[in-house]
């Protein structure tokens, strides 16, 4: 009896979960809802992206140096940016003195470069960083302001554009961080009087908008000072922004201080360290490392907030672009102006946040989850 064995026909191969089809199925077409969402999103992109690209690149006008080079045919007029570019960068800084700004920038880049190279030992980085912090502001101030060493003086009212934005942001950051650390230590202090003072200070500045602070610094500060003493307008804005952001910084640092277990302080006390040594050598290095994301967030907020000096009439990047868009010779190009400004701000803020993420990863010496 011959019994033949007929095998069951082969099952079809399982649905691929790898490669391009698998990826598409997993990420775009996993369920009816997802298919609908994907189609909707793709349609939105289809109606938004091509006109945008045409406006920015294909139909845009890049060459030329006057309004006549920008016929109104639905493309962006980047000539507007090209013509005003120097002004956007330096404001009203005199043409023949702009080499000073470039020199200062070059000095900063060259001297700060080792800080970003990983193979440079930490100790050298530390010394270089602290040295830069102490020396560079003096160099930059002498170069920008002049009036000594045979450099003609340039009044701060002439500073403008991206230069002014970076000056305000740089000074604000370097001043707000130490002040914020001191305020946070004060808030955590055992001494009731110091604690009350710090809490009042922090809560006051955090409770009011920056714009009223700037109003105050421009309207009320002259009233607070003895008659005849007058402050530079830029300095007044700097004081306002620094105090304001220091309060936010203090809260960020306080979060870090609270996360350090008490045992660390007790161990430091057992070793005979005083308050400042305990804080400076034991607590703060750990606490600051914990709150790097928060600190950088505050820096980013500060950088964006520099645009508010427009309210008190300083010509930072924001204001100088806004000013150029209201120029009767170049009316109608506000979109180009704002898109350019937005790109500049975005590049700075986004790279700051990316750098903080990489720093956070590198300094993460504890247990990785």
């Amino acid at each position: 009896m011959a019994e033949s064995h007929t095998p069951h026909p082969d099952l079809p191969p399982p649905v691929s979960t790898i490669g391009v089809p698998g990826w598409l199925r997993r990420n775009l077409f996993s369920s009816p809802l997802n298919i609908a969402l994907t189609i909707l999103a793709a349609y939105l992109l289809y109606i938004a992206i091509p006109p945008l690209l045409r406006w920015v690149f294909w139909d845009a006008h890049w060459r030329g140096d006057s309004r006549a080079d920008c016929p109104a045919d639905g493309g962006a007029c980047w000539v507007f940016i090209r013509v005003h570019f120097e002004q956007f960068m330096y404001g009203f800084y005199p043409d023949e003195q702009r080499w000073r700004v470039k020199t200062a920038l070059a000095v900063l880049i060259l001297s700060a470069a080792p800080l970003f190279i990983r193979s440079v030992p930490g100790k050298i980085k530390m010394r270089l960083g602290l040295g830069l912090l102490a020396v560079y502001p003096v160099i930059a101030f002498v170069l920008f302001k002049g009036g000594v060493l045979g450099l003609p003086a340039v009044d701060t009212s002439k500073w403008g554009g991206l230069l002014l934005t970076l000056v305000i942001a740089g000074v604000g950051m370097t001043a707000a961080l130490p002040l914020g650390v001191l305020l946070a230590l004060g808030r955590r202090s055992q001494l009731p009087a110091i604690q009350t003072l710090c809490v009042t200070f922090i809560e006051f500045w955090r409770g009011v908008p920056l714009i009223t602070v700037l109003f105050m610094s421009s309207v009320m500060l002259p009233l607070f000072l003895p008659a005849g003493v007058s402050f530079d307008k830029l300095l007044r804005a700097l004081i306002g922004i620094t105090l304001f952001q220091a309060a936010y910084m203090a809260e960020v640092v306080r979060g870090g201080l609270q996360a350090i277990p008490k045992g660390q302080i007790e161990a430091a006390a057992a070793l005979g360290l005083g308050y400042w040594k305990t804080m400076g050598l034991i607590v703060l290095p750990q606490a600051l490392k914990l709150v790097i994301p928060g600190i950088v967030n505050t820096f980013i907020a500060l950088f964006k907030d520099t645009s508010l000096v427009l309210i008190i009439g300083l010509f930072d990047l924001m204001n100088i672009v806004h000013n150029a868009t209201t120029n009767p010779d170049w009316l109608g190009f506000s979109t180009e102006g704002y898109v350019f400004t937005a790109t500049v701000y975005w590049l700075f803020c986004f790279s700051m946040s990316r750098y903080s993420q990489s720093l956070e990863k590198r300094l993460h010496t504890g247990h990785k989850r």
């Binding site: 969402l37 999103a41 006051f204 908008p209 714009i211 009223t212 002259p222 964006k304 506000s334 946040s353």
Partner: protein, 393 residues
């Protein structure tokens, strides 16, 4: 062999920690008070020299300027005190609307960011990274000068179904006109709310006693919508719409959203929503995946898992930073001054200050108002936070 016994030297008094603590505090207090007195004296001398009388008498004198948007009756003959109230209400209006819209968009984008759909989550990411890295002031300017200023003149307005119109003067919406009998609809809504409260209590008690569940949410929605609609229909639709109409060079009638308000609201909403989206994403991610798995293994379906397991735990993480964003939004609404929306900073600390010269009083009142709003919002959110906080045994 004996060692000489050294008597311990008493440390000098300035090294005694307690003495030091007291000394430090006295120095800090004296320095603060001296600084305050110095400023006070300078200010008094300056004010005397400038001939400015301090005090709040100016609040009752006539303002003499118009305000483009006011929620309460206001005219040029009103007092500066009235300007304060108009400005405060404008600030509150834009803040409340901003908080509502930003929360809505923020939650949607935050959840979209976590979507399994690659395209959707990328789009949400692009939105978040684009909007939160550009200064708010720039965004306000963009919407105001580049978008709304480019709108057509009233005669060529964009029309949305002949009911709403968008042009350079603003957004014109139909205004509801309540006819007699509409009070019945409101009353029906009130009754529905009371019924829903009783219904949810009864459903809870029944579930506790018998284990049977009742579709409370659906029943509540049906009550809240159905009862007022029924009365509305029975009363013969006591609601008509007043449509804006083109008369001469502008529209009349209806509700108008002025361009200043529209651009400010658009900018602060989109800006704050980007931050809220990140907060929501972080909050949901903070709930461990084991919670979802445990819930599924107990046989709870996915919508109930989200509502009963994930969200209550995520809200604990979300609420404190969300409060901060609400505060930021309220404070950021002061940027209205840059485009002339008549809020507190623009109309009161700007125009009134310039007209009267009462710098200290105006700035002090403005700051006090913002401080009060900040403290109130954080108080309310703290109360809510206490409700959702972890109850530890």
């Amino acid at each position: 062999m004996t060692e000489p016994i050294s008597t311990p030297v008493k440390p000098p008094i300035w090294n005694n920690p307690q003495v030091r603590a007291i000394m430090f505090q006295i120095i800090a207090l004296v320095a603060t008070v001296t600084f305050g007195l110095y400023i006070f004296q300078n200010t008094q001398a300056n004010l005397r020299q400038l001939g400015i009388a301090s005090g709040f008498d100016f609040l009752s004198s006539h303002s003499g300027f118009g305000i483009v948007q006011s929620l309460i009756p206001y005219s040029e003959s009103s007092s500066y005190g009235r300007v304060f109230w108009v400005a405060l209400l404008n600030t509150l209006l834009v803040s409340v609307l901003g908080v509502l819209f930003a929360t809505l968009i923020g939650f949607i984008v935050g959840i979209a960011r976590l979507s399994k759909n690659w395209l959707i989550s990328r789009l949400a990411l692009v939105y978040i990274e684009a909007f939160r890295n550009i200064p708010l002031l720039l965004q306000i300017f963009f919407w105001y000068f580049a978008v709304l200023r480019a709108m057509p003149a009233p005669r060529q307005s964009f029309s949305l179904g002949e009911a709403a119109f968008l042009n350079i003067r603003g957004l014109y919406l139909p205004a509801p006109q309540f006819q007699p009998g509409f009070g019945g609809v409101l009353a029906a809504f009130g009754i529905a709310v009371v019924l829903v409260i009783f219904l949810s209590r009864w459903a809870h008690q029944r579930q506790m006693a018998t284990g049977q569940q009742f579709p409370t949410l659906r029943a509540a929605l049906a009550l809240l919508l159905g009862l007022p609609l029924l009365i509305f229909w029975l009363a013969g639709s006591p609601l008509t719409w007043q449509y804006p109409e083109l008369q001469g060079f502008n529209f009349r009638g209806g509700w108008v959203v002025i361009p200043e308000m529209a651009s400010l609201l658009l900018a602060i909403t989109l800006y704050t929503a980007a931050f809220i989206a990140e907060i929501v994403r972080a909050g949901i991610q903070a709930v461990s995946h084991g919670q979802t798995e445990a819930s599924f293994s107990l046989g709870i379906n996915s919508s109930k898992t989200l509502r009963l397991i994930i969200l209550p735990q995520a809200l604990r993480v979300i609420i404190p930073p969300l409060t901060n964003q609400y505060l930021n939004l309220t404070k950021n609404s002061s940027l209205a001054a840059a485009i002339g929306y008549p809020d507190l900073v623009s109309a009161f600390a700007g125009t009134v200050l310039n007209q009267t010269g009462q710098a200290i009083e105006c700035i002090a009142i403005t700051m006090a108002v913002y401080l009060t709003i900040s403290l109130l919002i954080s108080l309310l959110m703290n109360l809510y936070n206490r409700q959702v906080a972890l109850v530890e045994r």
